[in-house]
Amino acid sequence: MSFEPRESRATMPRQSPWKGYQLAISLILPSLILLGGIILYPILNNFFISFFRYDLTMPWSRPFVGLGNYIDMFKNREFLASVGRAAYFTAVSVSLEVVLGLLIALFLNQKFRGQAFLKTLIILPWAVPTVVSAIMWKWIYDANYGALNGILLQLGFIEKYQPWLTRPLTAMNLIIMADVWHQTPFVVFIFLAALSTIPAPLYEAAKVDGAGVVNAFFKITLPLMKPAFLIVLVIRTMEAFRIFDIIYVITGGGPANATQVVTYYTYVETFRYLHLGNGAAQSFVVSLFIMLLSIVYIKLLNAKVEY
């Protein structure tokens, strides 16, 4: 290591660097203090707790257990199953949202009467608060008085009302439907924005070259929408993997834990059984996984898009 640069800098007539940074630091400080207190400190504390057996049911003893909580976690079938359920929820809901979102965006990108009206209206499912959307769907799926039963009965698909949410796989898929209704508009907005940046002359040139509509879609539209796809995929994957609210409201993790995804399991472990050490280890591993995804996301966002 050489000290030369520092020496040469010192010879230059210059204000002390601190002077230049003073303003920057004082502007950022309020945010940093807040974020340090409500995010950084809790994260570190959480990490620390994860090495102890910290049960609020036994407040008199908090033995250090090293990696014990982490080892327990990977031996715990229920925890691993909850990770699997979160993965199922994420894979199905995100693929449905991307496919439907793309179809709706392509549709709304056409010119027709009522297009502007539908484009405005589509913000509705997204703007309805998550918990309101959840109670709304719970009410629609209701076993005794639900609208889903009413419609299926009137159309002759069922002979009597069905308790939909008591069937494990059905319950999970119905929760996914509720999530798709609430989240697809977000995907539509991102795709519509991406579609509007594709220059029209590209399509005209393709037409002159004799390319059909389908060909133009696969050769022009899809490749140019790649960045939008990546953004949507990563954001929706991260959000779906930590899904909690609608599961809490619609099924409460039931029936027989069939909809207990990983954040719900950690919530129960921490705040119902008060196993803070185990909960801390679980949430740390889940965070790590989501952080890895977020690094991918940031890398992708920073990547330049080439036309």
Binding site: S31, L35, N46, I49, W137, N144
Partner: protein
């Protein structure tokens, strides 16, 4: 030379294709309209129905005797004979509004100062710090919940609106800093330099040039922050227990009592809770969409 018959044939074929296209668009448009509106419309209809009309098999899709009873009850002071949740719902609305407004104001002030530094000033570690702040936004809330619970208990902030304001800042602030840094970068530096030649300080330039020019960005960030605060469920579920602080999303889950659910009241609560975000969304749709596509997330 074109024979007239061939010409007509081509014309009628084009006509038929156009008719097919309009029919397909009509069907698709109608399906989309129903998918968007029908579930929410059923919530609204349920809120103005009598319980007996909803519990008949099949339910009355159009209520025979619509009523605003549930809404009126919720806003009648000292009313007897309705559930505690329904009677206290107005206070939950007030809690949500107070918390969301304070979170929005604090976030906009702190974030615009920080975002200005990230967008305009150079200092060591700037880009890494910004990336760190963004990365932190992706954390699931549960990972900071345990330590925060212990801290807020010590500070006596459990079940208080101030406690909720602090908690909500943990997800609104990183989001706002990220999105506003982007907005500030789009404002030409030359304008600011001109002002500074005329004798304005850095802060003067921020308040007189940058902030007014990025008003659309401020509006869209503010609306996001407000909506995300209004929407938040997980923090208040754990950190509130009474109507001193309990906000709408938590209150609404409590209509489902131990014995029976008052479906029309629950639906009325849902409709009331969705009015503020829906109004904001439809008025400021353009700002929201530009913010979504710039920053990527709701919160």
């Amino acid at each position: 030379m074109n024979r007239p018959g061939q010409n007509m044939n081509r014309q009628s074929r084009r006509k038929a294709r156009n008719a097919m296209r309009s029919a397909a668009i009509f069907v698709a448009g109608l399906a989309l309209f129903i998918a968007i509106v029908a579930p929410y419309a059923w919530l609204v209809i349920s809120s103005i129905s009598h319980a007996s009309e909803l519990t008949s098999v099949p339910p009355h899709w159009i209520p025979h005797r619509p009523t605003l009873e549930k809404f009126i009850q919720m806003f009648t002071p000292d009313i007897r004979g309705i559930s505690e949740t329904a009677a206290m719902f107005k206070y939950a609305m007030l809690n949500s509004a107070i918390v969301a407004i304070f979170v929005t104001i604090i976030t906009l002030i702190a974030a615009s100062l920080a975002a200005y530094a990230f967008a305009r000033l150079t200092f060591p570690g700037r880009d890494q710090l910004l990336l760190g702040i963004v990365a932190v936004r992706m954390l699931p809330a549960i990972s900071i919940m345990i330590a925060l619970y212990v801290t807020l208990t010590k500070l006596g902030l459990l079940d208080t609106k101030l406690g909720l304001v602090l908690l909500y800042l943990s997800f609104t602030l990183p989001f706002a800093i990220w999105i506003m840094t982007g907005f500030f970068k789009t404002i030409p530096v030359e304008l600011e330099e001109a002002a500074r030649i005329d004798g304005a300080s850095r802060l003067g330039a921020l308040f007189h040039i940058v902030l007014p020019l990025s008003a659309p960005g401020l509006v869209s960030t503010g609306i996001f922050v407000f909506m995300a605060s209004w929407d938040e469920f997980f923090y208040p579920l754990i950190f509130t227990s009474t109507y001193l602080a309990k906000p709408v999303p938590v209150a609404i889950t409590e209509f489902a009592g131990r014995h029976a659910i008052d479906y029309p009241a629950m639906a009325a609560g849902g409709v009331l809770a969705s009015i503020p975000p829906l109004v904001l969304a439809f008025i400021f749709q353009r700002y929201i969409i530009s913010g979504l596509t710039a920053g990527g997330v709701k919160g």
